[in-house]
Amino acid sequence: MLRPPGDNPRSPRHLISAADLTRDDAVLILDTAEEMARVADRPIKKLPTLRGRTVVNLFFEDSTRTRISFEAAAKRLSADVINFSAKGSSVSKGESLKDTALTLEAMGADAVVIRHGASGAPYRLATSGWIDSAVVNAGDGTHEHPTQALLDAFTMRRRLVGPDAGIGRDLEGRRITIVGDILHSRVARSNVHLLHTLGAHVTLVAPPTLVPVGVEQWPCDVSYRLDDVLPKSDAVMMLRVQRERMNAAYFPTEREYSRRYGLDGERMARMPEHAIVMHPGPMVRGMEITAEVADSDRCTAVEQVANGVSTRMAVLYLLLGGSETALPSASARTEENK
């Protein structure tokens, strides 16, 4: 939900769901991320843009990777960063999300980056009237993880179109395959929305037990057979599959899952030459991806981490930063294009 100006001029804009981004919103974020990436190549990796603004990382779930990515992004924009981990805090003593939010608001948070185990918690935070700050969803339950989708799209555009050639462009006509535990994946949900918005064609691949009932309404195809899809993919995104899932009968054994849906060197060879392998991490090597694939040049997992900082810088910058250069201009540009 990137709220357009005029909706309520006093309310901040938020990033809750990738589905709320227009094509132009998304391209603007990717273009801005490209500029941010160039900052990262400088000897001094810091911009003064968010000096004096406070970003709170409110993490109700352990996620060191995502938290430090947001932390690095905010710090490179010169924002003050407060890390609030729910573990060991008053939250574990029964304090509600509402009271935690009120506390952070009282401390002057301009943006709250929230990771929460409950789907919809960031939406509640943004819409319940508890706080006025901008809210950025850093992953909620099995709902969405929009900045992950943005950094994935950024990585795809860089690799498949080019860092410079990609500016101003989307992913029109690219064929993206997402493989793994779709049912429990917020990464898959955000990616399906965003990639569709950017003109890509998405195919989900998983055993039928790990595809949600209701998926037929999603703007994508679903296949149960990885080998059929691989030759027609420009990017193959492997999702982590937790070993515990087999205890709930989602699949019989780890080995059977790996045989049918894991990506090994032999399968990778069936992908088009230009195609890339992606993984949002953390990887379970030997389960959904073999070491051979994970360590190959075609795998962008490490690159995605670096791109995550640039993309999150872009999101924070556009939500909090310039008044004229921020996201409202994306909406304004949409108007002009009509």
Partner: protein, 428 residues
């Protein structure tokens, strides 16, 4: 007790009539009845119904008096036009002994706003393991005839079978909360298109339908009667319709909210829409309305489920399930069933008074509006339109899904055995 003359009301929606109440009883109906020394209530344009009966009310006392008490709950009932409610057993302690059901029964007597008929738990502590003392609860002053583990399903087929058999001794009925527990682990909302998108754990229709299918077969097998609580899916309707076509003794209820609201509302992540069973799809809503109209579903029951504010002012997964419903039930039924032409007011009287009283074997309620009958009556102004304002609720809780929504109709008067509990829409 004084006399009351209700003048010019459309009895069950029919021609205007006068109804004279003397003491606890209706003494005359007809036209041009002289008022004499009776208090006159001008009721032109209003509908006179038998006092409404709710088969499914959570009064929360004992144990959760922060959300509702027998007193506040019965006040809410009176405002909603009810003269009798069945108090569900999932209190703290659970109403699984004669002592607890008698306590609730006594609190109901003391409240004076409507009759409270306690429901007894089927199993000890609602644990589904061991039958509660059903006979003792029946023999107690509370005279329990309806038994339910509502909130939990009696999922063990043997326990369910035995309960169905056992209550035959005193013409009792088991009211089943149909929810297959394994299929609904972690369930947060209806499983379908919306849950897939929102990433909330799904509560599939089959979890309800499979239990209903089993229980109608069990009831037929042992020759007992079973009542299905808050039936919520089109598939459940089909199963009940089939069971009734066999002549089996199966009854079912639907809640007002399942007649009006759909799972699309969950897109707001506002827990005020979180309820069990969950809001379903538009197709389910339409099937439920049709089933209520054709009698496949016997009655409307509110499943009035009060919760304190903090249990709803939070993220979806952490929120309690349930909605208050007593004070809005008739309006929702008017909107979904009467104003749509599916049911006339006589039909409403049947589905909200006569049928639930018959299922619960409740005496003195759900009777015709005629001379000699107890004066349990509800007067409704069907032309009224107004937005729901929870701040004005008589219930202690405010967790209504209808806040700000305009609903038709308003209960202007409620009479419990000739005594006005509600006058001009306000508690008397």
């Amino acid at each position: 007790m004084s006399k009351i003359l209700i003048r010019g009301a459309k009895v069950l929606g029919g021609e205007p009539q006068d109804v004279l109440i003397d003491g606890e009883t209706i003494t005359r109906t007809g036209t041009g009845i002289e008022a004499g020394d009776a208090t006159v209530i001008e009721a032109a344009g209003q509908i006179l119904l038998p006092g409404l009966v709710d088969l499914h009310t959570h009064l929360r006392e004992p144990g959760r008096e922060d959300s509702e008490t027998v007193l506040t709950g019965t006040k809410a009932a009176a405002v909603g036009g009810f003269t009798a409610v069945h108090a569900m057993a999932n209190t703290f302690p659970v109403a699984d002994t004669a002592g607890v059901v008698e306590q609730v029964w006594r609190l109901g007597k003391e409240s004076g706003y409507c009759d409270v008929q306690p429901i007894g738990a089927v199993t000890v502590g609602l644990e589904g393991k061991q039958l509660a003392e059903l006979g003792a609860m029946h023999d107690s002053a509370a005279g329990v005839k309806v038994f339910s583990d509502d909130g939990k399903c009696v999922d063990d087929a043997v326990i369910m079978r035995r309960a169905l058999e056992y209550v035959k001794a005193f013409d009792g009925v088991v009211a089943q909360h149909a929810q297959e527990p394994r299929l609904t682990e972690g369930a947060q909302m209806n499983e379908g298109i919306v849950s897939a998108e929102l990433g909330l754990g799904g509560w599939p229709a089959v979890a309800e339908e499979s239990i209903i299918a089993r229980d109608v077969l069990l009831a037929a097998h042992v020759g007992s009667r079973v009542h299905i609580c808050h039936l919520s899916t089109a598939g459940s309707v089909e199963i009940v319709r089939w069971a009734k076509s066999k002549g089996w003794n199966v009854t079912a209820e639907v809640t007002p909210h399942h007649l009006l609201l759909t799972d699309e509302l969950v897109r707001t992540y506002n827990p005020v829409y979180k309820v069990n069973p969950p809001l379903r799809t538009e197709a389910d809503v339409m099937a439920l309305r049709e089933a209520l109209a054709d009698g496949t579903i016997d009655c409307v029951a509110t499943d009035h489920a009060p919760h304190p504010h903090e249990d709803k002012d939070c993220e979806w997964a952490a929120a309690a399930m349930g909605m208050v419903g007593l004070e809005t039930a008739l309006s929702v039924v008017q909107q979904t069933m009467v104003d749509t032409g599916l049911l006339d007011w006589a039909g409403v009287a049947d589905r909200m008074s006569a049928r639930p009283a018959a299922i619960g074997r409740l005496e003195g309620h759900g009777r015709p509006v005629s001379a000699g009958e107890p004066a349990n009556l509800t007067l409704v102004d069907p032309a009224y339109r107004g937005a729901v304002d929870p701040a004005g609720f008589a219930s202690r809780s405010r967790n209504t899904p209808y806040e700000g929504r305009e609903l038709p109709g308003r209960v202007t008067h409620t009479f419990l055995r000739g005594r006005a509990t509600v006058v001009d829409g306000k508690l008397a």
